[in-house]
Amino acid sequence: MKLTGAQILWESLVREGVTDVFGYPGGAILPAYDAMLAYPIRHVLVRHEQGATHMADGYARATGKVGVAIATSGPGATNMVTGIATAMMDSSAIVCITGQVGSKLIGSDAFQETDITGITLPITKHNYLVTSAEDVAPAVLEAFAVARGGRPGPVLVDITKDAQQGSSEVDWAAAEPHLSEAYDEALPGDGDARDAIELITAAERPLILAGHGVMLSGAERQIIELAERAQIPIAVTLLGLGGVPASHPLNLGMMGMHGEAWVNNAIQEADLLIALGMRFDDRVTGNLKTYAPTAKKIHVDIDRAELNKNVRVDVGIAKDLREALDEWLPLVKPGDRAAWLSRIDSLKGDSAVRDIQNLPDDGHLYAAHVINDIWRLTKGEALVVTDVGQHQMWEAQYYKHNRPRSLITSGGLGTMGFALPAAIGAKIACPGAEVWVIVGDGGFQMTCPELATVVQEHLDINIAIINNGFLGMVRQWQEFFYDKRYAATPIGGPNFAKLADAFGIAATTVTKRGEVAGAVEAARRLKRAALIDFQVEQEDSVYPMVPAGADLHKMIRRPSPIVETAAD
């Protein structure tokens, strides 16, 4: 039986197990939309195609399934670019379907023609231009295999209008994807389990660096087993939060630019770093010349191109992390590293005194208080989606994630506007989860039209705006490094509660610490979306901070006692 290219598209998606897609129609994708109604697919109409990609991304990160976004040609496709780049940087498996002008028109600057495969070439794992109905199934099925295989990432399939309208028989068995075997082969020079175990056994001050790969490979249990058996403390990256329970005694907390001071200091004192599914981003290493100067390094990453990229390693293993750890575990000897663990304890020093949670309540509303209260009241069990900026770092510091995939945040690209749409995707993937959006007043204004999507889809998500009247993180850099010249960082905005009200979302404004708990509880009780505008201290900063490119141990610490910066 012949099917149209449009029908083959949906049939392929259904065969891949897709139940939800995020999209926005237009001329070049209309045949696909017309065919969609006959398939068991929930289509979420977004308000901007960037939102569709972030939703697919949030969906993928919450579940490990592939997220799907769909858009028309030209502006629809180009609006996806930011979301695709975001997914690429954070290894998130999404498939983007775009319509394209008819194949006869390609190259003619036809209405709404754009070379989206050319544009997205460096920000996708792979992309396809499909110009005939018979090529639809092989391209779409292969796109899913590529997106989820190896190191996950975005794939784009651009389908011309005539390919959607034309028809073809489909041999589904022949359409099954086949990928080059070469990628998985070990190469000369690769390290193996024995090399790693040798270094681990010999180390006195080892430290595990756990990244996003722990969750992407499902190695949560293995990493704990390794740490416990060999008594090795763990530091996590921003995207690694939740991969190792925050409450685990060997979990030291987050490393890097806004990591805990003792974690960064421990990295600098370690004699062995065991980097597992992380990629030594400049935000976690600081100055590479002085990074972990006394440590040997083991690096496991599924992407061989990450090995020896930023940091030279002694043992580099290009492998799925869980598979690698499964090989290691039988060889790991019980270790005793009491001296090292107590040394790290002493590194904590006066950190607690400087912690804003331990400062006397002076009636001011600090973002850290808000996030700490949300953590406490949700018992640490919410699925939190953050935007980018100060609030993102405070969330990472004060919301203690014990479960994998319970924090979704744009790490690599640092995309403002990510939180609200990504949370929509996460909520649709996990309808039973309590979803909280934590977002700055700046980033919220980038994608807030998606509030209409929240309402149209009847989603019960809670939105906490950390409203400081500034593009806070940039203001902080101006305060520290540009003599407080606040060029273009004071930002106004609407009355967020009224705005939410106009969309049909329940909202309140909170200005005092005493009101936080009540507002959070009310939002949690409500069985539909709620928004809280937390009007916090305007000029608070995130501490500690390693200035960009500085030595990891040279952190700017919170002045102690705290210095008031804003008038009451």
């Binding site: 919450a62 579940t63 490990g64 070439l121 499902g218 992407d303 191109a305 799925d320 995939r405």
Partner: protein, 185 residues
């Protein structure tokens, strides 16, 4: 140092663009890049020469493997190998000069492939050094135009060449069920 890679790719539209884009994106400098058909239908072979260090070469190899159409990458820099460049050189040569040029062509075992009253076109194959040196001696006569293919290279003997990797069904993705709220994957 210069690294030479033999890269096998599926002969599909846009593949050259993907490879070139990778070099640009990762800030590698291509010294030379050639593409042509191979003994296997549907598969093209590129010879890529890149100036990078040992780590860069390994990373580049890994990046090439990330490209879906890539079937095999061999770094043949240190393997005993033959490398050749082909050049067409148009030289202004009349009267006496013409005799001199023809003698040089003989010495270099090059060939004259086109003759016109004002010029000769010389074809030569060889290592890049040999061609460079021919060009230098021809220059005083007036090189009107020149085109070179860039390097093609092949390992000597029957040293086991790794076969072009087959296409196989992808490995099953790991089961990575999260544990968030009621979210069941």
């Amino acid at each position: 140092m210069l690294h030479t890679f033999a890269v096998y790719v599926d002969n599909k539209p846009g593949v050259l663009n993907r490879v070139a884009s990778l070099f640009r994106r990762r800030a590698f400098n291509i010294e030379s890049l050639t593409v042509g058909h191979t003994e296997t239908p549907g598969v093209s072979r590129m010879t890529v020469v890149v100036d990078t260090d040992e780590y860069g070469a390994r990373r580049l190899e890994a990046h090439l493997y990330r490209l879906v159409p890539c079937r095999r990458v061999d770094n043949i820099t240190t393997a005993p190998s033959i490398s050749r460049d082909l050049a067409l050189i148009k030289v202004a040569a009349t009267g006496n000069a013409r005799t001199h040029v023809m003698q040089l062509v003989d010495v270099y075992r090059a060939r004259i492939v086109d003759v016109s009253p004002e010029s000769l076109v010389i074809e030569t194959t060889g290592t890049e050094d040999k061609i460079d040196s021919l060009v230098e001696v021809l220059r005083p006569y007036g090189v009107i135009e020149m085109v070179r293919t860039g390097r093609v290279a092949m390992a000597r003997g029957t040293t086991p060449v790794r076969p072009i990797a087959p296409r196989v069904p992808p490995r099953a993705a790991p089961d990575v069920s999260g544990d968030v709220g009621n979210c069941s994957v």
